[in-house]
């Protein structure tokens, strides 16, 4: 237990100390939220009159993606490249505790992000609706899906390649995932493609959890659950420690 707690605390400290990781997990989501809520240049879904009503749930989805996929993936990728994972393999820490500490670290990051972003959204005039009680489940499924993708990249590619791919994927999943640009403003094929992406599924689910009048998200829950199982399973299957 002591090892798990110290491992988690150290991992969290290292990610908060890392400027790039803070940028991607806190600064960029916050910037997008504040900017596009104040400067209403983006299209809004039908029936929404205030940007923050749509952006707040979308940016929360983005926050989950940035910490669970980008931060975790890049951090772990470099730990693997610099043989940290190899070195840990000859200590009594053990893989189960290492994985548990990584999960705990991501959950701690998520709590910090959510607190910051919710406060900012409320300050921008957000009034949450929908079925908020399901939000924690959506966040956990999203973290599982994106965490799996991050670890899959980290465990199979070189550190620098993981860095490039995670950042590229971040942008694509952001644009096609309905996080800041609504699906009903996208051409049919792109929208359909976006909806089966993990980012699309998570943003639809979070819209339905947190916004009155959002479309029902039954199919999005199924897509999200599918990614939440598939991605970590693939990571577990293909992860190489050295």
């Amino acid at each position: 237990m002591r090892a798990f707690v110290t491992q988690t605390r150290t991992e969290l400290m290292l990610s908060l100390r890392n400027g790039e990781q803070l940028l991607v997990s806190i600064a960029i989501p916050l910037l997008l939220l504040v900017f596009f809520s104040s400067v209403e240049v983006l299209p809004l879904p039908d029936g929404v009159d205030k940007g923050v009503q749509f952006l707040a749930p979308g940016i929360l989805a983005l926050a989950v993606m940035s910490s669970a996929m980008v931060s975790l993936g890049i951090g772990t990728g470099f730990e693997r490249q610099y043989k940290v994972l190899k070195r840990l393999g000859s200590t009594p820490l053990g893989r189960p505790r290492w994985v548990a500490a990584k999960i705990a670290m991501v959950l701690c990051l998520l709590v910090i992000q959510i607190v910051v972003l919710v406060i900012a959204s409320l300050a921008l005039g957000w009034s949450p609706g929908g079925t908020p009680a399901l939000t924690p489940l959506a966040v956990l499924l999203g973290a599982s899906a994106f965490g799996g993708l991050g670890l899959l990249m980290a465990g199979t590619l070189r550190g620098t390649l993981t860095l490039a791919l995670a950042n590229g994927l971040y942008l694509v999943l952001l644009l096609l995932g309905g996080m800041i640009i609504p699906f009903d403003q996208m051409p049919g094929a792109i929208g359909t493609f976006g909806r089966v992406l993990p980012s699309g599924a998570l943003s639809r689910v979070l819209q339905s959890c947190l916004r009155d009048g959002a479309p029902a998200a039954g199919s999005a829950w199924i897509v999200l659950a599918f990614w939440a199982v598939l991605a970590p399973a693939a990571a577990a299957r293909f992860f190489r420690w050295e």
């Binding site: 002591r2 090892a3 707690v5 110290t6 491992q7 150290t10 400290m13 290292l14 100390r17 890392n18 470099f78 730990e79 610099y82 043989k83 940290v84 190899k86 070195r87 393999g89 000859s90 200590t91 009594p92 820490l93 053990g94 050295e242």
Partner: protein, 335 residues
């Protein structure tokens, strides 16, 4: 702390073979290493040192043969073993953004009865580098922290892979001192190196390997004493007139490498006097002079060279480059 009792050696390597595809990294290697002793695994680059050590650490599975550490199988009994061994990798192994004491405290949390991180930091001379992250430490400082991390769990067996490679002399001295203290505490230390001087100064037992095969396994003193001592070696400017010197000394003089000479005679005071007199007459400086006792480097070069020569002649006789094994086997059994 409990040590293996009776005749269970701390480390046991028995007919170990490791293949990566077609490449044979280790071929039928056997040796033992004891508690309270420093064993140096010595060999040129690519000799199979790291493969052997990584098998003992549990990172690799032997293709065939058997390895035991403290009587345990490093892979099957991994969980039981990791708390009792300490590992220093050749490079890396530390979070790049972490500070030395943070890393030591993290590792200390893994073990039941760890050493004190602050004391250990002091022992490896990094107390004044506490505020620096790993990536801003020099190569030598990184090596010293890696060594401290190998020792944080109070290991019974320490595996040190090239612990002083690329380190400045003072850092090297410090690491040697720490390693020598481990021996006094009863730890079995297995270190790999291609630094012969280091093995000679530090090790109680030297295991020399090349191409994954054992060439020698003995105390450094024994290796050097048993070596052919009927020669004088000296260093002087390159391209001396060895024919003239041969005539003067009544013994064949060979320039073994530029500026390194070997005289095929026992190093009597008369021979030494004649040699230095000849150099003085020609106004030549004398770099160094070794008589009677060979350095480990001499032994090592002779062993690896004769192994290469035996391979070449075996291949010649059979007409096949893969048929060098008979020569290897006979040489191995000779010890």
């Amino acid at each position: 702390m409990s040590f293996p009792k009776g005749d269970t050696p701390a480390i046991e390597v028995d007919d170990l073979t490791i293949r990566y595809g077609d490449h044979v990294a280790v071929a039928g290697l056997s040796f033992r290493a004891e508690s309270g002793r420093i064993t140096a695994l010595l060999g040129p680059n690519g000799a199979g040192k790291t493969s052997t050590v990584e098998t003992l650490e549990g990172y690799r599975t032997p293709t065939s043969g058997k390895v035991r550490v403290l009587g345990l199988d490093p892979r099957r009994d991994h969980a039981a073993l990791v708390g009792r061994i300490g590992v220093m990798l050749q490079s890396g192994g530390v979070y790049t953004g972490i500070r030395p004491l943070e890393m030591l405290r993290l590792f200390a949390s893994y073990y039941e009865n760890p050493a004190d991180p602050v004391e250990l930091l002091d022992l490896v001379g990094l107390t004044d580098r506490q505020r620096s992250t790993w990536r801003s430490l020099s190569g030598g400082e990184q090596q010293r922290l890696s060594l401290a991390l190998a020792l944080i769990g109070r290991p019974e067996v320490a595996f040190l892979d090239e612990p002083t490679a690329g380190i400045d002399p003072s850092g090297r001295q410090l690491i040697r001192r720490v390693v020598a203290d481990l021996r006094a505490e009863g730890v079995a230390v297995l270190l790999t190196t291609h630094d012969l001087d280091e093995a000679e100064k530090l090790a109680d037992q030297v295991v020399i390997i090349d191409h994954g095969r054992l060439l020698a396994d003995a105390a450094p003193d024994e290796l050097m004493r048993n070596a052919d001592t009927d020669e004088v070696r000296f260093g002087a400017p390159a391209a001396l007139d060895t024919a003239a010197l041969t005539a003067r000394l009544h013994a064949t003089v060979v320039e073994v490498s530029p500026g390194e000479y070997r005289v095929a005679t026992a190093g009597t005071p008369a021979v030494v006097a004649a040699l230095t007199a000849w150099l003085a007459e020609h106004d030549l400086p004398l770099g160094d002079l070794r008589v009677g006792r060979q350095t480990l480097e001499d032994v090592f070069l002779r062993l690896t060279e004769s192994a290469a020569a035996a391979d070449a002649s075996a291949a010649e006789f059979s007409g096949s480059p893969t048929a060098g094994t008979s020569g290897r086997r006979s040489r191995r059994s000779r010890r």
